[in-house]
């Protein structure tokens, strides 16, 4: 019995380590991005798109961001088949972090999102 308990606990520890390493895999598995988009208000998505537009994101991608919220299926975030869902999620996450940090510190933290934007521009 003790060995079973120890084994189960060690498996859980291993799972924690694996999920800390493959962090975004955990997020995608439990569909947090979909839920996040479902709960976003119109105001917050407009604010997000304004930030993305200021940073030079293409209109096509902006439409994808707006329309991703209207998806009823929880299976994926791809609206435009040319836009990978991972990039879309990273773009939304990066933009929201940018907005939040700018509000907290007043500092321009667009370095974090510039890498994402270079991916978005390449699409």
């Amino acid at each position: 019995m003790d060995f079973i308990i120890v084994f189960v606990l060690l498996v859980c520890v291993l799972a924690l380590v694996v999920f800390s390493y493959r962090f975004y895999m955990l997020e995608e598995k439990i569909k947090i991005p979909q839920r996040h988009l479902e709960r976003m208000t119109e105001e917050s998505i407009n604010k997000l798109c304004d930030v993305l537009k200021d940073k030079g994101v293409s209109e096509e991608l902006l439409i994808s961001v707006r329309e991703s919220r209207n998806l009823t299926s929880a299976s994926n975030l791809v609206v435009n088949s040319d836009v990978p869902s991972r990039t879309l999620v990273d773009l939304i996450r990066g933009a929201e972090e940018l907005i939040q940090r700018q509000e907290e510190t007043g500092e321009d933290l667009s370095v974090a999102i510039s890498m994402l934007l270079s991916q978005a521009r390449a699409l």
Partner: protein
């Protein structure tokens, strides 16, 4: 805020268990369940935090990743102590180390310091803002500093 809220709730429950449940249990039984309980808490907290993030649709932040790592370390230390005190002594593989006065060894010191360091470091991470937030070198130095302070 989610991490803080869940951790405060779990610490409150842990405090009740430590002060009102464990003192009423016979010593050897207490030692058996002590480390299992804290290992379980160390695993349940990240699971609960992830669940609450899912419920509110909040992206997992780097603080959650740090929590996963620190709680994994905590759970592992608790498992090692459980083995050392209930299954087989890990220093000489002869019996179990039950008596804290005569059988304590390095692992127990690492455990005592490590558990406290991890919890205090997590609290520190949650309150870090601005320049200090999410910068890896700062996080690493802070963690090493916590170990240094607690080891002293």
């Amino acid at each position: 805020m989610i991490i803080s809220g869940v951790m405060i709730a779990c610490l409150a429950i842990a405090d009740v268990i430590q002060n009102y449940v464990f003192p009423n249990i016979e010593y050897e039984t207490r030692i058996y369940f002590w480390y299992l309980t804290w290992a379980a808490f160390s695993i349940i907290q990240p699971a609960l935090i992830t669940l609450v993030h899912w419920y509110f649709g909040v992206f997992l932040s780097s603080s959650v990743r740090a929590l996963f790592i620190l709680m994994a370390i905590n759970a592992f230390l608790n498992v090692l102590l459980f083995i050392d005190r209930n299954i087989i002594a890990l220093n000489d593989f002869n019996g179990v180390n039950l008596n804290p006065r005569t059988e304590a060894w390095l692992l127990w010191d690492i455990y005592s310091v490590g558990i406290n360091v991890n919890i205090w470091f997590l609290i520190f991470m949650l309150f870090s803002k601005g320049f200090f937030k999410d910068r890896l070198i700062w996080i690493l130095l802070s963690y090493l500093f916590c170990w240094f302070v607690f080891w002293l």
